[in-house]
Assembly symmetry: C2
Homo-oligomer: 344 residues x 2
């Protein structure tokens, strides 16, 4: 009798221990960190509190599922933009590829400097120079042809520092934010000053964001027919949408027709998008990525004493506005324990 009671007690204790283990594992899984690349801190807390406040029934800031929108700048916010925007690298590569068809480029700026790989001259390119390069490399073909050219390039081109595909240089912490927001009913959009069609070719695979959720600068598309009489769209050298600065909220309104509840940027070109998001109502989340980590990525501002930069300019005025308006400034150095998926 004694042996079986002891045996029964041991079995009961083992069963209870197993039960506790299962419960605590379940609890741990239920509380699993949705943002593992983020260090504990005000930035991470702001994101988590935002999601809780806008998705919990009864919360004064509850947003119904069909009306949840989050917008992300790309260059410098979701992927690397130094030393120069990826799309500019593409355009310069295309000049070299197309040069044999344009012998006159050898003696015409800005093409001459690109073909000669004259870095000093290229560093001084004006907006007009870049516009000429973009029009020469992004127009005069159908929309399908252009997408195929980009797809081909983005699958092969590598950056000069890590020698990775550019689509590998996305910020793991921001991918986690996108996945976390989507898991909570948010529609995630890219809102880029760069080319809408350029980004559309890789965004679904890279960010999980489909073409209809990419807002960017866009050429006019010209309807026409091919030789078989089938409808095509050509790309003429005419800009339809300039999606920078105040263009961002204007285009968000065109595409979405509402204020987003969350917006993420990193430079002066994102200021109006964040202001427009905040104007949508209490509980909105506005965040700016500050590049303050020269070891793991790049350091540039010039806010907070960082080196000045023409690419992804984050001025002290923008920093001060962020603080005054209650926006969150993300320090790559302090807030991210991992920047790239390939970081150890």
């Amino acid at each position: 009798m004694k042996k079986s009671i002891v045996g029964a007690s041991r079995a009961a204790v083992a069963a209870l221990a197993l039960l506790c283990l299962l419960v605590s594992t379940a609890q741990a899984q239920a509380a699993a960190d949705p943002l593992p690349s983020w260090n504990e801190g005000p930035a991470k807390q702001a994101i988590i509190k935002f999601v809780a406040a806008t998705t919990t029934e009864g919360s004064p800031q509850f947003v119904s599922p069909g009306a949840r929108f989050a917008t992300f700048d790309q260059d410098g916010t979701t992927w690397v933009e130094h030393p120069i925007y990826t799309q500019v690298v593409f355009a310069l590569d295309r000049v070299v590829v197309l040069a044999p068809k344009h012998p006159e480029w050898k003696t015409t700026e800005p093409f001459k400097s690109v073909i000669a790989d004259d870095r000093e001259a290229m560093a001084k390119f004006t907006t007009k120079d870049l516009e000429k390069i973009v029009f020469a490399t992004h127009t005069g073909m159908t929309t399908s042809e252009f997408s195929a050219i980009v797809k081909d390039w983005i699958a092969k081109a590598r950056d000069p520092r890590w020698h990775r595909l550019f689509t590998d240089l996305v910020y793991q912490p921001m991918l986690e934010v996108m996945q976390y927001l989507r898991a909570n009913g948010y529609k995630t959009y890219i809102v880029t000053g760069g080319g809408q069609d350029f980004v559309r070719t890789y965004a679904e695979q890279t960010y999980g964001i489909p073409p209809e959720q990419i807002i960017g600068s866009a050429l006019e598309a010209e309807f026409s027919y091919n030789d078989a009489g089938n409808a095509i769209l050509m790309r003429p050298p005419k800009l339809l949408v300039n999606n920078n600065f105040s263009g961002k909220p204007e285009d968000i309104y065109l595409f979405i027709g509402r204020h987003p509840q969350a917006a993420f940027g990193n430079s002066t070109g994102d200021r109006e998008m964040l202001e427009y998001t905040q104007a949508g109502g209490k509980g909105a989340l506005m965040m700016l990525v500050l590049h303050d980590d020269p070891t793991r990525e790049y350091a540039y501002g010039p806010a907070e004493g960082l080196p000045a930069s023409n690419v992804g300019t984050f001025t002290q005025a923008l920093y001060d506005e962020a603080k005054a308006r209650g926006w969150n400034v993300i320090s790559m150095k302090k807030d991210w324990n991992r920047i790239f998926s390939f970081d150890k």
Copy 2:
């Protein structure tokens, strides 16, 4: 013994009968008609076959769920457009409302004719006249203010024939198509030559289509600040997007970045949208609504001997193109057993 056997047999028969009834009801429910307002015929069959072909795994025309898009013209396709477009009625009503603030309108065309309710003169209005009226009534306020004005008007204004709210004059068969497509993973869009913001105010409630899925003609939105320093968007008298004719596929490309698999229209302004849809690949569905029912709605073409009309023109050339290209022409008279939800 005999009585109980008979009793048991009767009970068994009753149970079997009930079982058969349940089974057949279940089968009937499973096969419930998703398009009850449509009569059996080639148009209805085309829709059902399209959905089966594009949503059945293993079908050569299978389209993955994230890539399913259907676009609907509005005026004359999803709601009534005769005697004149609803948005024009809105604009003319606004002229009368705003007239006290514009004493000069009493002696200036086209406002003079509108204020005097001169039907003969209004019937002769040119595009330039309408543009002046639209700019005078749709601009100079914020986007929020404009939406509130439309919301207020659309909740009260009634049509001259059925004396219904305009949002009641939607075509029940087309609502069923939208619901059926959405139930099968399709994103439904309105693609209208009318105003995007006008349609956005009621489309979610009326069609189940949210603001980010409304493509239409659009003014530029101008970013600014109100007196409290908060971001606003103003409506200047500048057209950004003209969403008619070739503008439709160009704007579908801007907003969606892909060919839709299904497109529905009713006039020459929808031709390029249907051509662009067909160019997306085999298995696409292109449908045009022909207004051939003067008793229950309006008859106009001039295709197939119907009376000519400047509003929702369906030419013989468009009809012939539809037949040549394998598009489906919907006869309101033959294909729809109910037009409006309030039809008996």
